[in-house]
Amino acid sequence: MSYLDNIRNFSIIAHIDHGKSTLADRLIEKTGLVEARDMKEQYLDNMDIERERGITIKLQTTRLQYRAKDGQDYILNLIDTPGHVDFNYEVSRSLAACDGAVLVVDATQGVEAQTLGNVYLALDEDLEILPVLNKMDLDSARPDDARAEIEDIIGLDASEAPEISAKTGMGIDEMLEKLIEVIPPPQGDPDGKLKALIFDSYYDSYKGVIIYTRIFDGRVKRGDTIRMMNTGKNYEVTEVGYCIPGTVPADELKAGEVGYICGSIKQVADARVGDTITLANAPADAPLKGYKKAQSMVYCGIFPAEGEKYENVKDALEKLQVNDAAFNFEPENSAALGYGYRCGFLGLLHMDVITERLAREFDLDVITTLPSVVYKVVMKDGEVLDIQNPSNLPAPALIAHIEEPIVKADIMTPNEYVGSIMTLCQNRRGNMIHMEYLTKTRVQLHYEMPLNEVIYDFFDALKSRTRGYASLDYEFLRYQPAKLVKLDILLNREPIDALSTIVPEEEAMAKGRGICEKLKEIIPRHQFEVPIQAAIGQKIIARETVRAYRKDVLAKCYGGDITRKKKLLEKQKAGKKRMRQFGSVTVPQEAFTEVLKLDDGR
């Protein structure tokens, strides 16, 4: 019998909120690796933002030891997966490191869009899937319905799915036994040429980049020179070991095992997820399949706010990039906002997380501009430009046509909301491909939609129209020609580049009007009239005016309460610091993000 027979490499897959992280916590606790007193809520989600939002962005991986009822000790490598559509590629690479997956289905909710999306990703990696029904401690659990949904929608036999409560620990032992039975042990040749999959990495200030890896063939130890097969870079291994969790050094890692490798690597981009590690002096013939370069889908400008130093922003972005291969940035100069950076993200959530970390971890005051997707601009001379910054859009006369990214959006919903979802998608230029009844009451809608329509607030709109019941999964499909125009915003007749957007021609009028109205609310009155205009090229399509003269006088200091008056003046002064000066017009910094929240009832 091989050592491989006592290893199980698995992931837990679930829809957001279905209890993945709680289950991981319970497993860690159960197998005694972390003392109960060290247990934080959701051990694996180690960023505050993740814990607050109940989502996992950065992976954690853990080696568990479990003595099964057959008396044997098993190594269970739990490989966590990020839980959001923005991180599909990362999810797929984590799954590729596994031999099976535990599918957690909330017994009170049933199957959701992401459940299905993640199951498909797991099936693509040829994984055995063990369904389990979670939240069985709740009165509202309906295991029979959930079981039926798993069978009808996913097509897995759920008759023996363990019923558990990750919260209370109920049914966890039975689940582990079942896991050992259902999920196959890894295969691989420890004496073959090294092939190790990078499924995650993070930067440690002492050790450099720490690579999480699954060894498929061969072995690796300290002192070896490794080569990244896709990037071609070589590094000397300084340490290998297991994640128990944390990093515990070991002599070597060999085929079938999961662990970490350090090699004085400076930034995570050099150890890209999906790349294959081999030995420089005895390389494998071909890398593992599935490697993709990180591709930013959404861009926005990040500028230091008034009083914030450009250098501080740069330092912070560099630090974030060291740990996030999917995040990139380059300097940008805006006439309105000065020097800043154009930043690329996997999606809107990724963007939110980064901007929030800038504020929280680095205590920075930044202005983020309207997010934009990448447009392919086909010029009349045949040249094709990638444009993600509206300011860089060439003059309309030079453009043959513009193409925008289209995504395939799958929405799963209880059937009573189909009508309102269809209206929503139609208003967002969605094109319905088909609709299917998964069960009598659950429907899946398949749409093709411009990514541009999804990135603003589509998810929020979807949730609010379905009382939170609908779920969304989307992925990039193709580029498609569209009638798009650049919408400029002028304040006091001066165009403000940071407020320009690229919009569909037919919506330009409504969008322009909406932005002008919003700005009218935000921009304080001046001693002169401030016209706010929306324009396409030279043509003004909407106009609002901030009337002149704001009365700004307090009549009395009652009973000599000078202190109160002073506090009011100090507050006013502090408020002014958060303003930006554009020529003679003063604009609050919120304006740049507030125009995003354009609730036009669509």
């Binding site: 704001r550 009549a555 009973g559 109160r564 006013q572």
Partner: protein, 421 residues
């Protein structure tokens, strides 16, 4: 301390937080007079007066009192007997100048229903030493008075003024409120004409401010009430300023106008001496619930909780809520923004003295006006460019002596003042 400061006198402000009925716009501290512990309150006030006076004597910082101002609320709803006791205690405890200005706020229709009662009440105030009355007229339109939640009518005002004059009060202020929802500029000017007919020595004019937490505040939020647009409000204000100037009043502070004396070139003798303390960085002792004071370089505020106020004094403690020892910058900053409320503006020298006279702010050898000017702009270097920007737009006058707001500048006085905090 400079010789100039030695001569400076103090004022006393006393707060009376009781009203017959709270007005719908009012965000100030007041309770229904009926059923409130008014007697306990004046008893507590007497204790506070004695405590304050003892403290000042002990510290050797007591000074002569040049002004007394009893405000509210509605001081005229207080029982004459207890008021009189309190004033006696005040005069026994502090060294009040014989010619001190002594103002009492009174609301129309609170001085008594019968003429005889009114005359007797006013006589009692005279005995106490009150020599200036400030009447909360607010409007001369009965519908608007009702809308504001005032308890009086225009007829009450006429009758009160008649009796006040008969009683020989020769220094009377009338408050006028404008920009009440639904009120036009013409309405406000017509109110003003009716007020001018009483030939008051002093007029206070201010626009209604809708405050949160008042009935008007709630009505504004629900859309039940539409505020007068800023443009109209400011136009009315400037019309009022013009009319009062024609009528021989001196516009000596943003919202205050004093009838000119015999020498029209000299400052009016009817300026409120007490309120001027606030704008000159002079000292005043605040007494009573929620009252503010500025004594020995410290700004303080009393508690606004009536129970706490009474129990603190019961226990022989001053009912302080906060105390703040002004820094040199606090002093100059306050000197500037309060000084800018005066039409004369603030002189560099006065502002800079408020700064360098503060403890360790450093004695500088400043003699010429240019020294003070340069020192001033050194302290406010950050504000200089914007201040001169306002000057360029005709909103602020900056000359060799100091700065003052123009009449247009008043409209945005807060923006300008906030440069200096």
């Amino acid at each position: 301390m400079t010789a100039d400061n030695m001569d400076r006198k103090r004022g006393i402000y006393i707060h009376m937080p009781f009203c017959v009925q709270k007005c719908r716009y009012c965000a100030f501290l007041s309770f229904d007079a009926e059923g409130s512990p008014r007697k306990e309150y004046t008893d507590a006030l007497e204790k506070e007066i004695r405590l304050r006076a003892e403290l000042e004597k002990k510290n050797g910082t007591d000074k002569r009192i040049d002004t007394i101002y009893i405000g509210g609320g509605t001081p005229s709803v207080m029982d004459i007997a207890s008021m009189s006791e309190m004033v006696k205690t005040l005069k026994n405890s502090f060294d009040v100048e014989p010619d001190a200005e002594f103002t009492l706020e009174a609301n129309p229709a609170t001085l008594g229903r019968k003429d005889g009662v009114m005359l007797a009440k006013l006589q009692a105030y005279k005995f106490m030493g009150v020599n200036r009355l400030s009447m909360g007229v607010q409007s001369m339109d009965n519908d608007r008075l009702h809308y504001l939640g005032r308890i009086h009518t225009a007829e009450n005002v006429a009758r009160d003024m008649d009796i006040i004059r008969r009683k020989g009060f020769g220094n009377v202020n009338l408050d006028l409120m404008f920009s009440v929802p639904g009120e036009s500029g013409d309405d406000a000017l017509s109110d003003l004409e009716k007020i001018l007919a009483f030939a008051p020595e002093h007029i206070s004019c201010y626009s209604l401010q809708i405050e949160e937490g008042t009935p008007f505040g709630e009505m504004a939020e629900s859309g039940e009430l539409t505020e007068v647009p800023d443009e109209e409000d400011r136009e009315t204000y400037h019309r009022i300023c013009r009319r009062l100037s024609e009528a021989g009043y001196e516009h000596y502070e943003i919202s205050n106008f004093a009838r000119k004396g015999e020498d029209p070139g000299a400052p009016s003798p009817y300026r409120s001496r007490h309120n001027s303390l606030y704008w000159n960085m002079d000292e005043y002792i605040g007494l009573g619930l929620g009252a503010s004071g500025f004594v020995n370089g410290v700004r303080y505020k009393n508690t606004s909780d009536l129970e706490e106020y009474l129990s603190a004094l019961d226990a022989g403690r001053l009912p302080l809520e906060e105390e703040h020892k002004n820094t040199a910058f606090d002093n100059i900053s306050e000197a500037v923004f309060t000084g800018l409320r005066r039409r004369e503006g603030v002189r560099y020298e006065d502002a800079v003295r408020a700064y360098i006279d503060t403890d360790d702010a450093g004695k500088k050898n400043l003699t010429s006006y240019a020294d003070f000017r340069d020192c001033f702009w050194e302290i406010f270097a950050e504000a200089k460019e914007e201040a001169f920007g306002y000057a360029g737009k005709g909103l602020l006058t900056i000359d060799n002596d100091g700065l003052k707001l123009t009449e247009q500048g008043i409209d945005i006085s807060n923006s300008i003042m906030s440069l200096f905090v």
